[in-house]
Amino acid sequence: MLNDKSTSELITKSLAGILDPQQQAAVDSQVENSEQSRKFATLNKLIHDSISDVAKRSLDGDTSVAPGLSQDARDRMKNQLRAESARLSQSSMEMTLVPDLGVSGSSNDIEPSVADEQFGQETATNAKSATTPPLTLPHSNLPASEARTVKTRFTLQKVLGAGGLGKVWLAHDETLRRNVALKEMNSAAAEFPRAWDRFRREAEITGQLEHPNVVPLYQHGMDTQTGQPFYAMRFVGKRTLVDAIEEYHERMNAGEDVTMDLHRLLTAFIGVCQGIAYAHSRGVIHRDLKPENVALDSFGQVIVLDWGLAKVRDDVDAGVGISNEMVAGESAINKTMNGEVIGTPLYMAPEQASGRLDDVDHRTDVFGLGAILFSILTGYAPHRNSSLVDGDQIAVPELLRRISSEPTAAPADVNSSVPGDLSEICLKAMQFRPFNRYQSATEMSDVVQHWMAGRSERRQQYSNARSECRELRTAMLSSVRDLERNVRFMSCLPPIQGIIDAVKGRSGDDLATWQERLRLIYGGLLRTNCDFTSVSYSQVNDGNFQELIRIERQASESSNVRKIPASRLASGPLTGCMKKAMLGNPDEVYVALASDCPKAGELNEASRLAATVPVFDLETEEEFGFVMIEADLDRLTETLIRDRFRTRGRLFVLDNECRILLQLDRSGRRVTEVDGQPMNEVSPCWSNVLPVLKEKGEYIDERNHATYATRIDLVPGRYSLALALCLAESKE
């Protein structure tokens, strides 16, 4: 038999509609027999009906239910909403889009401030943590709302960062006496049931990925007071890849040597690739790869963070991967997320931006890796340019439309200093269609490592080549100086003045005797200098020259040095180089290519170098003629190159007008097809090289280490040759 109190309880349940027929019958009987119970039931029905009526009227917008907003409240609300709207439009480009979660990391929680809140915790298995007396906060300068003491093993010290899902604290593990990073769900996110699932999944996925490049999870628990979950993980410092990238580009822009910085960044990048490759092997796709989600420490540790948007593949091998059963709520979440956009717009793959989540697979992460590499190389997010129109940010939907319909720009197009082949690696990873990308994170890692190894080798090779080119330049200059010294010496010999005296009838010896003496000397000169092709002594009269002596090397038989008989000696109007030489002072040597000089012998004019020095009559101090030595530039350079140059590459010798005088292929063979052609026509990329060469005297290809050029000032300010070296075809 029910008493009245029990009956009233059953009436309450009856009104909630949960009684079984037997209980309902008992209640009905009691109500019929008890006036008080009947009154209680009647009153409750009246109350229930009136409340249901109000519920319906409030839903229909009946204004009699309650007064509306006051004008003050209306104004306050508008101001706050305008401010929030403006803030969001500024920050939306940088934020991670998370379905069902606010994109803002800020909390507009209506919960009161929780200064000095006791943060009770229990582990995931609901085992209560051992409690210890509350600990005092070590950082008293923290805002009260940010500072909390935990009564169990973790002391929250300061906020390291906040995202859409949660806030990350630097905390101290009092039990193990070490710093940890503690992530708790932020109150804004906690308002959404799916955020709970996502947070739990993030912890579970992170906990199951055991790899040096994936942050290790220490503890997953729940705040028993707020009911909100948290997890503790290794604290790897606050520095992320973003900081390292900014530092690298700042140093580079300041003109500092950043070779090692790039090497370190790429090494870190390979660590990210390896961490992601491991996750893929376990069936996990990160889906939000960006520099902010990569933590770095000072000792080379690279840790991939924030697995909150990770997806667990269904097709992973049992026993190897993480199955959906191991991660709560995955399948349901995947179903509901289809058509939604997740990830960070500025780093997003096209299939993510278009909401085609069925198409998202491990190659989406390959795109993300490419996006990280893009940031490393350029200092910007890959879709930054797409996000701007005339310097203003476009709306996120428009950006997503662009990402999902347009190919991503190449890093080299954004920053011209990016090595061409590295830019191509990056671009391949970010191909619009997944099947055109690298097919795994491991493949991408291998390609970048290969590039780094090749770059080291190429850098060394390039450095060697530069040294050799410089030596070659020095040797060539030295040869030219030898030429100058020799021609100067040949113009000071006693027979020179003896011939003048004989020609002018001032000496006892006849002209033939002096000529024979000089021929002997000149012949000896040619025999001891195999690069010299001829030496001659000419008289000048009234703008015409007449060779008095000429000794030359036979073109077809270089060991044969012969004197030119008087009947074959050249004469005629002064050529340009002769005129210029005759304008000089005594001992002043004029060096020029033989193309400025008279055609003689069988040699190609363009490959002859002529050094000319004026001769003055010592008696009258009037100009008499000139001595000229010609050298075979081909032979000169080839001899020097073969003696000193070990680099395998195409070597060009260019004249003053940057026409090709000489080309040796990678095997050191002489190539003559392009002789005389402008270098620009042979290789278009030289249009970038030549202005630098002209201005600075040297072109150094820091970007690709493929091309080097140096100027050889034969006659400073007047005549130059250039050595140009192609180690590899440039990726311009």
Binding site: N3, D4, K5, S6, S8, E9, I11, T12, A16, S34, Q36, S37, K39, F40, T42, L43, N44, L46, I47, D49, S50, I51, S52, D53, V54, A55, S58, L59, D60, G61, D62, T63, S64, V65, A66, P67, G68, L69, A73, R74, R76, M77, K78, Q80, L81, R82, E84, S85, L88, G102, V103, S104, N108, I110, E111, P112, E191, Q225, T226, P397
Partner: protein, 199 residues
């Protein structure tokens, strides 16, 4: 459903939202939360969430219905937080009306519902005026469970999960709320009748 309810989503416009939906949402929140500051805060939170989610909901359904959906969530969240910080006074024995309504044997006390019952055909709006006042006198933890159960028609499991209470605690709260409300409404009704009869 009126015309406003069918307004398609046209993107976040804070001023327009406040002008068009502020009163509607505020009245709805007020009827559930019974506190103008809390209702204003919940409405503001609703609009803020709307701004944040605007792209996700772009082009989908009626704007007012969407905002109302968010508001319902905000009301539940507010109630949860209010209960969390008001646990001490929510369902302690001091707020237990059973001592007043039942004797030691669990039978109705003589003065439990002593007065004349109101006419059953009385206007529900008149009853609401009385109920509204009585709800404010109930401990918030009891009133909130009652409102979520009756007004929002949430089932027991959902309320327990949202308010982080056990089922037995839920039934205790709901029952005490019904007892307290019944007694309060009966008393007020009787008082009003007396006032009217003396008038």
């Amino acid at each position: 459903m009126n015309n406003t309810d069918e307004t398609p989503f046209v993107g976040a416009d804070p001023d327009r939202w406040v002008d068009e939906y502020g009163d509607y949402l505020f009245r709805y929140a007020m009827s559930r939360l019974r506190d103008s500051n809390a209702a204003e805060e919940a409405v503001q939170e609703t609009f803020l969430a709307g701004i944040r989610f605007q792209e996700k909901y772009s082009g989908e359904g009626a704007e007012r219905a969407w905002l109302l959906g968010i508001l319902k969530r905000k009301i539940i969240d507010y109630v949860r937080k209010r209960n969390r910080y008001d646990r001490d006074g929510s369902y302690e024995d001091t707020n237990d009306p059973t001592a007043q309504l039942f004797d030691q044997n669990g039978n109705w006390s003589a003065r439990a519902f002593a007065s004349q019952m109101p006419d059953e055909i009385v206007e529900s709006r008149e009853v609401w005026d009385v109920v509204k006042g009585c709800l404010t006198h109930l401990p918030k933890g009891q009133a909130d469970v009652f409102v979520l159960s009756v007004m929002e028609e949430m089932d027991a499991d959902d309320i327990c999960r949202e308010l982080e209470i056990t089922p037995s605690n839920y039934w205790v709260r709901l029952h005490r709320a019904r007892l307290g409300l019944a007694k309060c409404v009966e008393s007020k009704w009787m008082m009003d009748e007396r006032v009217e009869s003396h008038a």
